[in-house]
Point group: C2
Chain length 512, copies 2
């Protein structure tokens, strides 16, 4: 691993030459919040939820489906197992959760891109899972592997994105049982940011681990989290054997999992914020506890993907006040449990990257920041309730993530920032544009969008009167034109390709 | 006044018949927050700002321009006056501010629409001041009185808007010295929500008061705040005689003023959050103190209209992290001063009601809610840095204000909301759509947009694949079609018209 890094960061003369001519790809360090969290639940509310969650686990229990080994593990841990139903004595889940770390490092192949997950950190990762793509040129269509690679490149080029993500879209032109290999290879070769592993089958999780062993070295993977993968709970209260199978592989390998109820409130959870939070807590505690039965100390994240349903159409809705309340509340519950927290994202139900998409997204991003989210999946690129990934929306959202960075940094209270000399210099009726303090500080003073329009009306009109989607399309084009693949050790690259070829040969193609 | 109210709310048979056939215009009660504020400044930072603000007032002072009476008042109050410069001994401004009420009621002609300003309240008012209008049909053009009336009607029809505002746009087809009369009459006759008075000349403030005496009765106006008007400070540190002249008339009449620095950071204040907050506090303290010199106990609001400058183009920028930090910080300073707080709004720099407009607006609305704003001017309808009012943006933003209401209400922790019976009923693997708890609660459970699209993709496509602006245009049309003028006592109406006619006759037309 140490050897790999030395080589990847400029071994021979060719590498050094490449580095000198390379476009400088700047990635911000993950966010360390210097502002407080907004805590909307009172201690009384929190205690009610925690007591009720214990009641759920004790009295109703959770189902571990088609997973006899899991039932056996639970039995040994002291749970009451009846059929596939697992009932946990009060306190058992919380006790088991205590061995999961409050904060951990996920390593990237470029160690400058390592991220810390937990505590006051906030790590931003792109959209996950859409089967469709919509772009300004092609409209809405099924996603392909070429789209996938485009999103990985955009993620690599996005300054405010710390993480390459996982299934940035679902490439439907590759067999379903093999696409995880191509997706992982894209993250590994087209980016040097950290990424996620496959969860759609336990063997695909094992493939993910083995490919990481090639990329990072076997010893390094044994000792470090190199993937953070998304384990959805089949709410209400059900843990299916596919997701749990993937969890078992990852936890056993010491790799991080997000244990995440997937809830459209009113359908998979009660039609109330308190009820939903209670169910979320019960589910996450059971899931994280299970990961600790597999391997105490395996990194686990308290996930909450929760939104509400539109009772007229049955469609999930996003950027709503109830979703925000759940995001705030679940953050408080996660902190009391001592676990890193995953929630929020560029959620919206719009078909287009228009004002609806932006209102709903901004509502969720803002709630995510002040609710204390540590890992924000879907932080950019999401459209149409997650059915669609959009490159224009991707860069629009990724630009807004810069706002979160600056806000989270808090307020500089140094003597220079107090600016009393400037106020003295300018005095009543003057202006600050030319004063010494402004000259010394203006470059770093204000966050500036790389995408939005700040021009006077006339200039904007002369430039084609472009809306945000058109500005975003231009930025997508520029980022892809500027893209340069980060150096990957050729021997590692060959080994990854050989592994993929071997695995593909072992399986017939499957498309469902 | 009591007589007027009785009559306005259904005196004769005609009125009763009108009431029975009227479209029900529902307006939400002003928000009473049941969630905490986000306090991003530490006690240390707050103390530094407060000490530095006192230093500004003591050492640099503020200018009261072309206003000898003001200088005399300050001298009597113990300030050091030299030329037009007023220097305040440490503590004087804060002591004077203490007589301003922490919370007050602004009466509306329909007492159901009265608003409380201060404490945990949040009152929402529309955009103020744009000389241009942009709509989906006509593009961008100078605003007219017909536009003004349209915005007042939209405000009246908007459920989440508590206040009719003031100069919802600047009607450029009416003489500048007379348009305040027409604008006030529009608020008084087309709406029954509370409104703002004119501030562009002291005599126009007096006209505003006299028209209110006709509408509410002279005694009522003497005893109640019936207008909340916007007094901008000419930052840095300058109080011009026009705005102060209006303030003097309003304060003397016991009418409420928002004392509001108008700051583009980097131009009218230092290029730092701490420096800007310090100047804001000094300016507001001087302004509110002056209002209390006019009449101790006159309602005054701590205003902060603060944004940052784009150092490339010189344009003001909106929805930025620095603007949010100032919004949070100024809220803390206002609460420590015991004053109601005005800030935030539907701010954005976009030329169109597109994604940029919505991101920036949502950033500001969200910051406004959790920074403890009590009076949010510009809560809907703002476009292009405030140069443009847009009916489509107006209804889009007004819809989003519903999100703030629900969020602010906090989380219901009742046994019904805990939903344990529902969780028991549904159990692992079930769904909640049909359960008893869902049936009993779904109607009020989730906030629902009156504008945004929640349809499945195919239905949306069949319906014309409309973006948010097109949906908003349809809503504008519907609201205006449904609009019915609220009953106004005919004698009052005649008296208002007579006053306006008399005043117009007394003045030659002026257009600058």
């Amino acid at each position: 691993m140490a050897e790999l890094r030395r080589r990847a960061r400029g071994g021979g003369g060719a590498a050094r030459r490449a580095e000198r001519t390379a476009v400088r790809i700047e990635t911000a360090r993950f966010i360390e919040r210097n502002i407080p969290d907004l805590e909307i639940l009172t201690p009384e509310a929190l205690e009610i939820i925690e007591a009720n969650a214990e009641t759920i686990l004790e009295e109703i229990g959770v189902a571990f489906v088609e997973n006899p080994a899991a039932l056996e593990r639970w039995r040994e841990a002291g749970a009451d197992v009846s059929g596939e139903r697992v009932r946990l004595p009060r306190g058992l889940a919380r006790t088991l959760c205590a061995t999961a770390p409050a904060r951990f490092t996920q390593a990237a192949r470029n160690p400058e891109r390592n991220v810390e997950i937990g505590g006051r950190s906030l790590v931003l990762a792109p959209v996950y899972g859409p089967p469709f793509v919509r772009d300004i040129d092609g409209g809405r269509r099924y996603a392909t592997m070429a789209d996938f690679e485009k999103f990985v490149k955009l993620g690599y080029m996005s300054k405010w994105l710390h993480h390459s993500g996982g299934t940035v879209c679902e490439p439907t032109d590759v067999p379903v049982n093999k696409r995880h290999l191509d997706m992982l290879y894209a993250h590994m070769s087209l980016s040097d940011k950290p990424f996620m592993g496959s969860v759609t089958d336990p063997d695909r999780a094992s493939d993910s681990i083995e490919m990481c062993e090639i990329l990072f070295g076997k010893e390094f993977v044994a000792e470090n989290a190199v993937m953070t993968s998304l384990i959805n709970i089949n709410s209400p209260l059900t843990f299916d054997n596919v997701m749990m199978g993937a969890l078992e592989r990852y936890a056993a390998a010491g790799q991080a999992c997000i244990i995440s109820p997937f809830i459209v409130g009113g359908a998979m959870a009660p039609v109330s914020v308190m009820g939903t939070l209670t169910q979320v807590l019960a589910e996450v505690m059971a899931g994280v506890a299970y990961s600790q039965l597999i391997r105490p100390g395996a990194p686990a994240i308290f996930g909450a993907f929760v939104t509400s349903i539109d009772m007229n159409s049955g469609a999930p809705t996003f950027g709503t006040p109830e979703a925000a309340q759940i995001t705030y509340g679940a953050g408080q519950l996660a902190r009391r449990l001592g676990l890193p927290y995953r929630s929020a994202g560029s959620f919206n139900g719009s078909k287009l990257p228009d004002a609806q998409a932006a209102y709903e997204t901004a509502n969720s991003l803002n709630a995510g920041l002040v609710s204390g989210v540590n890992f924000m999946l879907h932080a950019c690129g999401w459209l149409e309730g997650g059915l669609v990934a959009s490159p224009e929306k991707f860069v629009m959202d990724a630009d807004q993530l810069g706002v979160l960075h600056k806000l989270a940094a808090g307020v500089d209270i140094s003597a220079e920032a107090q600016a009393m000399d400037a106020i003295r210099e300018v005095g009543p009726g003057g202006h600050y544009l030319g004063c010494a303090h402004t000259q010394a500080n203006f470059k770093a003073a204000f966050w500036r969008s790389d995408l939005l329009d700040y021009k006077p009306f006339e200039t904007w009109a002369d430039d084609g009167a472009r809306d945000t989607t058109q500005l975003a399309a231009a930025r997508v084009e520029k980022l892809l034109a500027d893209y340069q693949q980060p150096m990957l050790d050729p021997a590692t690259d060959e080994a990854l390709k050989a592994y993929i070829a071997k695995r593909k040969e072992q399986m017939p193609d499957a498309f469902v």
